[in-house]
């Protein structure tokens, strides 16, 4: 698997660390912390997820990937909300 780092170009997945689903956003109120920390949609299909390019540019990126096929649709820098 190769990930298209927006800064470095396409690089081997071994250079990256996976942090998982980029969907959950740290909530401002305590009541939603449990969901944020523990509960996951765990989709079978496209997922947006955080990867850290530890062996490269050290950027956090958001990769869109299909969990059923490992097909990768694209990646953007996470900085700025990954938009």
């Amino acid at each position: 698997m190769r990930l298209p780092c927006p800064y470095c170009g396409e690089r081997d997945a071994a250079e990256f660390v996976s942090r998982g689903d980029a969907g959950p956003v740290r909530p401002m109120n305590e009541a939603d912390i449990f969901d944020y920390v523990y509960i996951r949609d765990n989709p079978a299909g496209p997922i947006r997820e955080h990867w850290y390019h530890a062996q490269g540019c050290r950027n956090w990126i958001v990769v869109t990937r299909n969990t059923l096929t490992h097909e990768i649709f694209g990646a953007v820098l996470a900085r700025g909300g990954g938009q």
Partner: protein, 418 residues
């Protein structure tokens, strides 16, 4: 159904092996059951078997999307052990170990349970202390554990790289009662035992939804072979637990991850039992056919693909070379991946779902195969009596909210680190 013995084998041999009957009945779905279990793997079939045998509930259907034992029951590294250190885990896995020890006599089926020992190597003073502590915790739970020094390990496995420059072997924690079992035979044995007691095993029958009463409680399952009504539905579909739970509107503290395993060409007997590397993640045993069966870490990213990537292959092989360089010339024959449930503390869930009539047996990853008998036993207890079995009482769904996590590895709430 005929009872297997040396005499029945001899009779079949004399008859030219022409009178063998199928060991279990491939059933078509009926309209109503007392209990429907989704998932015809080891856990689902063991649950059905113990429901019928221990609790006398035989109007049970096991519905399986593909064929029985075609998922993770056929994709593991066949290791059985109970060398866990935490209170929530140790009694459960030890109960499983005890069931393994009597399994073949109970099922009248050769599951090739072989207690050849599980040896966890340690490579530093700190790791030795941690292993001593785990061994002591095990003994307090009545589990066998021996802390071996370097020379005792050398006597068992002289071929190990004791003087590795970075990870010298200082000793190991040994559980002699651990070992391996034949994974497919476990599935077939449970299927035979359940089928014999009236359980319907229904293959090629995928759950596509849940039938609900007007008050929201479970009325049965919708499947590709029609609606099957049941007051109680148990999910034993580790790897796909989130997908089925989503059909009932539930979200779980689970991510699906791919775990790879490997087998080499057949070699003469070289490994005395199961050996694990303490400084990386690598575990290996030798099958009775001679193949080295080994594995390591999960790939680390969400996956339902049942296949992994090369970085983990490299990592696993590096782990192997670090402790037993002699296997470097052996060729890898096959590798495969299984989709596991990874919970946020790495431990399983055997509990009621927050929907009346729905029960969860989920969260199985590294511990899945070895847990098969106890998982079935405890899940059957929960389904039949509506209360958790004492050995699995800690595997609650709400433990993530109440803070009673069972984090054997101490890695925190990140699924891919367990």
């Amino acid at each position: 159904m005929t009872r297997y013995s040396i005499f029945s084998l001899a009779a079949h041999a004399l008859a030219g092996h022409k009178r063998w009957r199928p060991t279990w009945r491939d059933a078509a779905p009926r309209d109503v059951y007392d209990v429907v279990i989704a998932g015809g793997g080891g856990h689902g079939l063991a649950t059905a078997y113990y429901l019928a045998k221990v609790h006398g509930i035989s109007r049970v259907a096991v519905v399986e999307r593909g064929w029985i034992g075609g998922g993770n029951a056929g994709r593991n590294t066949t290791i059985i052990r109970s060398n866990y250190g935490l209170d929530g885990n140790a009694p459960f896995y030890e109960w499983s170990m005890k069931l393994w020890e009597g399994l073949e006599q109970d099922l009248n089926y050769n599951a090739m349970v072989s207690q050849r020992g599980v040896l966890n190597l340690y490579h530093s003073d700190g790791q030795r202390d941690a292993f001593a502590r785990r061994g002591n915790a095990m003994r307090l739970h009545g589990i066998d554990a021996e802390l071996l020094d370097r020379e005792a390990v050398r006597a068992m496995a002289p071929f190990l790289a004791f003087d590795h420059s970075r990870f010298p072997i200082q000793g190991g924690l040994l559980q002699r009662r651990g070992g391996t079992a034949r994974h497919d035979a476990v599935v077939w044995g449970y299927a035979r035992g359940a089928s014999e007691r009236g359980v319907d095993i229904i293959q090629n029958c995928e759950v596509t939804g849940f039938a609900r009463h007007s008050n929201g409680s479970i009325a049965g399952v919708e499947t590709t072979r029609g609606t099957i009504r049941a007051a109680k539905v148990g999910l034993a579909v580790a790897g796909s637990s989130s997908r089925l739970a989503a059909l009932a509107g539930l979200r779980l503290p689970i991510e699906s991850h791919v775990l790879q395993a490997f087998v080499s060409e057949a070699l003469k007997p070289i490994l005395p039992g199961v050996i694990t590397f303490g400084a990386g993640h690598f575990y290996i045993s030798q099958s009775d056919k001679g193949g080295l069966v080994f594995g390591g870490d999960i790939d680390g990213y969400n996956s339902y693909a049942a296949r992994g990537n090369l970085p983990v292959v490299e990592d696993v092989c590096e782990g192997g070379m670090a402790i037993m360089p002699m296997i470097g010339r052996a060729r890898v024959l096959r590798s495969w991946g299984g989709v596991c449930d990874m919970t946020m503390d790495g431990s399983p869930i055997i509990d009621r779902a927050p929907i009346e009539g729905l029960y969860l047996n989920a969260g199985w990853c590294y511990g899945g195969f070895k847990a098969t008998p106890a998982s079935g036993w405890c899940f059957a207890h929960l389904l039949a009596r509506g209360e958790p079995h004492e050995a699995a009482a800690a595997y609650r769904l709400d433990r993530f909210a109440t803070g009673r996590l069972i984090d054997e590895k101490g890695a925190g709430a990140q699924a891919n680190l367990h």
